[in-house]
Amino acid sequence: MAEPLTVSMGGTGLSSFWDGLSSHLIASFYPVERVGQSRNWQMVPDAQSVRAPLQECNLDVSLGWQSPFENVGQSAMPSLKAMLSSGAMQAWTGDPGGAASKFVGKFEGRTGITKLNSTQVFAGMTPLKFSVVALFRAWSDPAREVLAPINQLTQWALPGALADDGPLMALLEGIKQTAQGKPLDEGAARALLPSLAPSKIAMRYKGFTYAPMVIESISLPLASPVDADGNCVDMAVPMTICSLAAIDQKDWERAGQFASTYPGFTA
């Protein structure tokens, strides 16, 4: 008699079943919040995490270098300098071999570029940018294994709440709440910034913890195959995830400290 078909299943958080796959190949996403008033970030208590293997994961670090002295000393009479440098002025003197021609000839082949005015300086950097494709594939329950984790990711990407009214109405509402006895700071915050921004998240992948991050874009291939109940069975979700701020060497070192109390970047 044949043995019954059994496939071990497990895992925590919202995920498809990836039993047997190395944990290093599975990325974890979870919401983070600031630890008190510090610059450290931690997982939001009792929050759900989303786990998915990444089909693609590219990290772009763009660093801005500029040459601020590039045009120093070159801006005055650029055309005249160019004519002198090229030797075009010699023909204009009309005295081949004469004193004027020799004088003008001294400028030919010279340039105003120096090491100083070609030196680059660090002018800033953009936040880290991850381009990932998270894979969700249902083994037995598409609603739980595909739909639920994708819904969670989408929710993290969207603003927490957008105020219904305009700024003027929000200001009036803040004044009204303060008059009703609410703390002034809370009322002022609601009055000036009435809506809630999207969640900050962390991404833990291959021994590194990248946090705080924000989901800059997420694409949902809704035309993916569905089961008899209309739930997607298989979905590869491209996302662009950026760090909240630019990072430095210490931040990168902290990201690799998996066992640290507050792994990730400071921001």
């Binding site: 044949a2 078909l5 496939v7 195959p225």
Partner: protein
Amino acid sequence: MSHYNNVAESLSSQGLLGSIRSGLNAALGGVTDSATQALGGGKLAQTVVGMGKSAGVNAGMNLVNKYIPIQAQRAINVGAGAVGDLMNGDWNSAGLRVLDSGLLNELLPGFGGGVASQVAYWGTPTPLFGGISASEAKRIYDQVRNERLAKKNLWLLEVTSALNNGGMNMPDRFNLFATEVEYSPFIIAGDKRRVGGAVVDAVQGAEPIELRMTTLDDQAGSLKMWFEHHAAAVAARDGTVGVPADYAIRIKLVHSFITAESNRGGYQSIGLFRPISLDVSLSRREDGLQELAMAFSQLDTFMMP
């Protein structure tokens, strides 16, 4: 080391006459040691007694040479060496020692010559056997013959799935009807990256297995129905798809044994597959059994059934 081992080692390495010389040396050595001690143990005493010992050993060996011809001495040495080899359990060395000496042929001219030529044949490396002797070739042949080699026509196939709670399973019929199975159990994919004039191998990982199976079928089309149901569970006619938990097909292939009861640790491949295609070829040109060519693709390479 026991006395037996001492005798065996001595005979094997020195032959009988060598052992006699050693024995004389040892016996006279004991006497001369006593004489040296009696004479005070000085340098002169050692020299005088040593001269006497050499004379004694030479006198003893002269007696041996006088009464035993040199031909016979060689025979005795060969025989004693062979006995020593046998006592050491080294039958090969014993036989070769006799053969190398040519003594067998000399002692037994008619019979010995035939045996010697036979033995020379069996013991001489020859290009006909790839540079080894006939006895070595026979040993290799016997070694191969004694191995229980796997046969390609003996295998046990077990195909099951959870479709309809296992209601579609008919493992016995599958095993009975399957005539051929082809698959590559391990496929490793990788790239070759050129670095200057050299090439660096970059492994990408394992590839899913594709298993092809040829089966017969009954008149009711049981196996065709089985495949059709599983194919529909993967991709239904209405455009929807199923989930692997429903349609995953567990294929177990045991090599070299044809029943589970007779299986004595045969190599087995187990994997989870889904149907790819079913090829059927019908022809009225000849009277033959219908054959189904089924193809299956492995599901997740990391998922163990």
